[in-house]
């Protein structure tokens, strides 16, 4: 990543225009050519610096549902339970965290009922209670990660 890559990542974490030639508009703001911006974004995506470039959709607006769930997994069963949980396609992200509740995963389903069904299936397969922690309120954040 060079200085231009950093400027691109810092400037374009939101506000990408909706118009016929949006890359040309964004490039002008950065003082570069449209083709340069497109090539840089493609390289950043290829290198994994960007996981994506485009709209960030909110699941609830689409009729789907998302929740955060947590489990206290006994350490000696951790790998086996990870495999059981990850096998569910509804599990989008799963993290090991430093806590007695040591497994935290995001469930995303096409319908709200899908969340309950996935939680019940995971509890039945693992024998471990799943704590369901859906968002009750979302506070608007302004953070942009600095590259």
């Amino acid at each position: 990543m060079d200085e231009l890559d950093r400027r691109i990542v810092n400037a374009l974490q939101g506000g990408f225009p909706i118009c016929e030639r949006p890359f040309a508009v964004a490039a002008e703001g950065l003082g570069i050519e449209e083709a340069t911006l497109i090539a840089r974004l493609a390289a950043l995506r290829e290198a994994g610096v960007l996981s994506r470039f485009g709209p960030l959709w909110k699941a609830e607006g689409l009729g789907g549902a998302v929740t955060l769930a947590a489990m206290a997994v006994p350490p000696d069963r951790f790998e086996a339970v990870t495999a059981l949980v990850n096998a569910h396609p509804e599990v989008a992200h799963n993290y090991e965290r430093t806590h007695r509740l040591n497994m935290w995963f995001v469930l995303a389903t096409e319908t709200p009922q899908g969340i309950d069904a996935a939680i019940q299936a995971i509890e039945a397969e693992t024998g471990i209670p799943v704590l369901n922690m859906p968002r009750e309120a979302e506070y608007h954040v302004g953070l942009r990660l600095e590259a």
């Binding site: 691109i8 990542v9 374009l12 974490q13 939101g14 506000g15 990408f16 909706i18 016929e20 030639r21 949006p22 890359f23 497109i38 974004l41 610096v49 960007l50 996981s51 994506r52 470039f53 485009g54 709209p55 960030l56 959709w57 909110k58 699941a59 607006g61 689409l62 789907g64 955060l68 947590a70 990870t82 949980v85 599990v91 989008a92 992200h93 799963n94 993290y95 090991e96 965290r97 430093t98 509740l101 497994m103 935290w104 995303a108 096409e110 704590l131 922690m133 859906p134 009750e136 309120a137 979302e138 506070y139 608007h140 954040v141 302004g142 953070l143 942009r144 990660l145 600095e146 590259a147």
Partner: protein, 157 residues
């Protein structure tokens, strides 16, 4: 959200094509006229179905290896006002209120903080703590020690 909106979701949830006219490419993929794709996306952005459009960086690739979930037990009567203030600080990438599950879990405010060092992430936690003040009864920071799975959220198509 109608059928045409859902086609736009399916065509863009992995990203926009990196082409000079990306919305025209979406139009081609969805069978909608380009002007309609753009008008619908403007509306979905205004309604909040699209949070934002742009670069979605990978925290780890940018060197943010210390990603902490700072959780707080905040008085119910004050949590919404304080949550809005915490979010506006620009220190956390997500700020949500979630249900408690006593006795296993007593925290109702969740903030994600990121740092290139552990100290940087914990510094953000202290700045948040200063704003929350005496409304906090207890808090913890849960760092992620391993990514067990990470796929994009797939919502349609």
């Amino acid at each position: 959200m109608d059928e045409a909106d859902r086609r736009i979701v399916a065509a863009t949830q992995d990203g926009l094509p990196l082409l000079p006219r990306p919305y025209h490419a979406v139009a081609e993929a969805t069978g909608l006229p380009p002007g309609e794709v753009m008008a619908r996306m403007e509306r979905l952005l205004a309604e909040g179905a699209i949070r934002r459009i742009g670069a979605v960086p990978n925290h780890y690739a940018l060197g943010y290896r210390f990603n902490g979930m700072a959780v707080w037990d905040v008085e119910d009567a004050r949590v919404d006002a304080l949550g809005a203030r915490i979010a506006a600080l620009g220190l956390s990438s997500h700020c949500y209120r979630r249900p408690r599950h006593p006795p296993a879990w007593s925290y109702n405010l969740f903030t994600m903080v990121h740092g290139r060092t552990r100290e940087e992430a914990l510094g953000a936690v202290e700045e948040i703590a200063a704003v929350l003040g005496d409304a906090v009864r207890a808090r913890e920071v849960l760092f992620s020690t391993r990514i067990l799975k990470k796929t994009g959220l797939r919502l349609a198509g």
